[in-house]
């Protein structure tokens, strides 16, 4: 039974099949919502309400010509997209969706998995940087430099914001943190500030407006992705979608009480909670304009980081009060 469960876990839910279908659905949801906020229709053509449009886009890109620049580091250039997709898909397995038990740690749910997950979520940034750098295009290189510059801005506040609920729950295991807040929902309110900070940082991590600086098309053409085309670009786009699902899942686990109820009910929980997070992300995207890279760094260190420290202080004080 355990083997079957593991296989289902790896391949169907939340494994590859679910990741692919759900991340394309989330992309559709994001696009549609963004379009409606802008008074547009959004995708309408493929499938009911354009539901299949992201999948159609994916296959269209897979069929397109794939060009590698002559001066690029060819091995690196080709290896990065699948590598990035593998990293975020692995991160997805660490979300406590089902097939875990709170008493006993397993390969996908263990003490310290929150750190591993955050680490796995940091890697895509380096993937983007290396992608820009190995393309050797001027615009890609600037994009790559901007990716890293931004990383210094948002990474520390994100870690502080995500780890403070863990401090309150007194555990480094995602499943236990989620279970803690399910038992004491009132305590989740303590982390409200951290929730907002995490949303902003995730927006920056996913390089969406107002933080879409590394691939700001009106400034540096496609940024890191300037030279990418065809299959590699398709995989990169899928990777970004999966990263969005994982990041939304992480926020939902840590701040919104996780996904209880086993495979079926947990799935519904997962969809509702991640869509809620993605809704906020789309809202930020629709209502802001792109800022400059120096403004990101100063904004992160002037406001986000001090607020994240404040959140940590609040958590420590609350923890002292309840124990």
């Amino acid at each position: 039974m355990a083997t079957v469960n593991t296989l289902i876990y790896l391949i169907i839910y939340p494994g590859l099949l679910f990741i692919f279908l759900y991340s394309t659905f989330v992309e559709w949801y994001d696009r549609k919502l963004y379009a409606r906020l802008q008074n547009r229709m959004g995708p309408t053509h493929t499938g009911p309400s354009g539901l299949l449009q992201p999948i159609a886009d994916f296959f269209k890109l897979m069929a397109k010509e794939d060009i590698t620049p002559e001066r690029a580091d060819k091995t690196m250039f080709a290896a990065l997209p699948p590598f990035g997709l593998a990293i975020v898909s692995t991160a997805m397995l660490l979300l406590p969706v089902w097939n875990y038990s709170l008493e006993q740690s397993s390969l996908t749910s263990f003490n310290g998995d929150i750190i591993v997950l955050l680490y796995l979520l940091s890697l895509p940034t380096f993937i983007f940087f290396l992608a820009g750098w190995s393309s050797t295009n001027l615009f890609s290189t600037i994009g790559g430099a901007r990716v890293l510059t931004m990383l210094f801005g948002y990474e520390v506040p994100l870690f502080l914001a995500v780890l403070s609920p863990a401090v309150l729950a007194d555990s480094w295991r995602l499943a236990e943190i989620a279970a803690f807040y399910r038992q004491q929902p009132a305590l989740a309110l303590v982390n409200l500030l951290g929730f907002i900070i995490a949303l902003i940082c995730v927006q920056a991590k996913l390089e969406r407006t107002p933080f879409d600086i590394p691939h700001a098309e009106t400034e540096i053409v496609g940024g890191t992705f300037t030279e990418y085309s065809g299959k590699k670009l398709a995989v990169f786009r899928l990777m970004l979608d999966v990263e969005m699902v994982v990041a939304a899942g992480l926020i939902a686990t840590v701040f919104l009480g996780g996904f209880p109820g086993g495979p079926i009910l947990g799935l519904i929980n997962f969809i509702i909670k991640t869509l809620l997070v993605v809704f906020f992300l789309s809202l930020i995207r629709a209502t802001t304009s792109r800022i400059r890279v120096d403004q990101v760094v100063s904004f992160a260190w002037k406001y986000l980081a001090p607020l994240a420290v404040l959140q940590l202080l609040i958590v420590i004080i609350v923890k002292g009060l309840i124990s």
Partner: protein, 400 residues
């Protein structure tokens, strides 16, 4: 370390081809250079071979956005050469179209500014409302872009009661929306952070570099041809010249939105005081030898046509100075010491119309092969210089 970035001739921030070479140090621009000529059609030379009336349609095709500006400027000059008295109603309709064109051009610019700053929601909203103006223009002239309403001696299409009512009704909607955009454009924090103190052009620089239009007015110089040198019936219409003192992209945005309100007022006045009578007079085929300087306030600034006749049915010389050309010198000044991220915004802030600025010369085939090879070659040299052994560039300065 410095390196050069080619912006254009093909670049997502440019709607038309132009070459900008930008020398950057990290993210900071140290030098900028402009190269025109990708879009030349030889209109000035061609105009010498066409008759007076054919040239109305030729000048209309100088630009897609300010098509009416160029024909009005040209037609005004020719009417002076031919000593024609244009009927009042014709002038009013001509002014109506030119104000509608100003509104649609400024709304277009606002949307583009939003897009360049990555504020796509603003872009979508503004362009949705621009359709109202485009629809009015279509009901009046039958066309959305090249209105073809001007002719020598007047205009070609009359207005009826229903159209007047429709125009007045849509003004209400446009006023309300523009107020919203004024609030949004000047209060949305991330948008203002991108616009304020970007592309600084002091009053002295603006004057000495001969900037025109909203760029000049945003530096606090109240210069507007409609006020200084009233053409058509602008001396009868009450309106104000809008200026801003901030000298940056935010100021240019504010000036343009304020001008929208002035245009609404002008249109309202024109529609309420529309004179009756004919709309055009018959024009002769030839003009006596003479010369004339015709000035016009296009949405982007002062438009100037110098027309010289030699007694035949063709002009001896037609010189067109579109507003964008007057702003290029100022743009280079504004770009220096800015950020790469601000290039599209600063460049967009003059509302560049590259077609307008490039009209002269003979029928050059605007193939850019030579220029492209040049820039590629220089890029290759650059990359070889940086890394003689490997194929990759490594020593690019950190932007921190």
């Amino acid at each position: 370390m410095n390196f050069q970035i080619p912006i254009g001739p093909q670049h997502p921030a440019l709607k038309e081809p132009i070459g900008l070479r930008i020398t950057v140090e990290g993210e900071i621009i140290r030098d900028a250079d402009i190269r025109l000529g990708y879009n030349h059609r030889g209109i000035e030379k061609l105009a010498e071979q066409k008759t007076w009336i054919q040239n109305v349609y030729l000048t209309e095709r100088i630009c897609g956005i300010c098509s009416h500006s160029h024909t009005t400027c040209y037609v005004q000059g020719v009417e002076k050469l031919m000593e024609l008295e244009t009927p009042k109603r014709g002038l009013y309709i001509r002014m109506l179209i030119s104000e509608l064109e100003r509104i649609h051009s400024h709304l277009l610019w606002l949307g583009v500014a939003g897009h360049e700053a990555g504020f796509d929601s603003f872009f979508m909203y503004v362009w949705r409302d621009r359709e109202i103006v485009m629809d009015i223009l279509e009901t009046i002239s039958g066309n959305r872009v090249h209105y073809a309403i001007n002719t020598i001696g007047g205009v070609r299409r009359d207005l009826d009661e229903l159209q007047v009512k429709r125009i007045l009704d849509s003004l209400e909607v446009l006023r309300r929306r523009s107020q919203y955009y004024l609030n949004l454009g000047t209060t949305e924090p991330s948008f203002v952070a991108r616009l304020a103190r970007v592309g600084y052009l002091s009053r002295e620089d603006a004057l000495s570099l001969c900037a025109v239009g909203p760029t000049l007015r945003a530096s606090g110089v109240p210069m507007d041809v409609r006020k200084d040198d009233p053409y058509a019936a602008y001396d009868e219409v009450p309106f104000e010249v809008c200026t801003a003192g901030t000298c940056d992209v935010l100021g240019r945005t504010v000036v343009r939105i304020k001008e929208l309100f002035q245009s609404y007022n002008i249109i309202e006045y024109l529609m309420k005081n529309l004179p009756t009578g004919p709309i055009a007079v018959r024009a002769p085929r030839r003009a006596k030898p003479n010369e004339v300087v015709s000035r016009y306030e296009a949405p982007r600034g002062e438009n100037l046509h110098y027309i010289k006749s030699n007694g035949s049915d063709k002009p001896e010389r037609l010189k067109v100075r579109a507003p964008t050309l007057g702003n290029y010198a100022a743009t280079i000044k504004m770009l220096k010491n800015g950020f790469i991220a601000d290039v599209p915004l600063i460049f967009a802030a003059i509302d560049p119309c590259i077609c307008c600025a490039e009209r002269a010369v003979a029928l050059i085939d605007a193939r850019t092969g030579q220029e492209k090879i040049m820039s590629l070659k220089s890029l290759k040299e650059l990359s070889l210089k940086v890394s003689p052994t490997t194929t990759r560039k490594r020593e690019i300065e950190w932007p921190l």
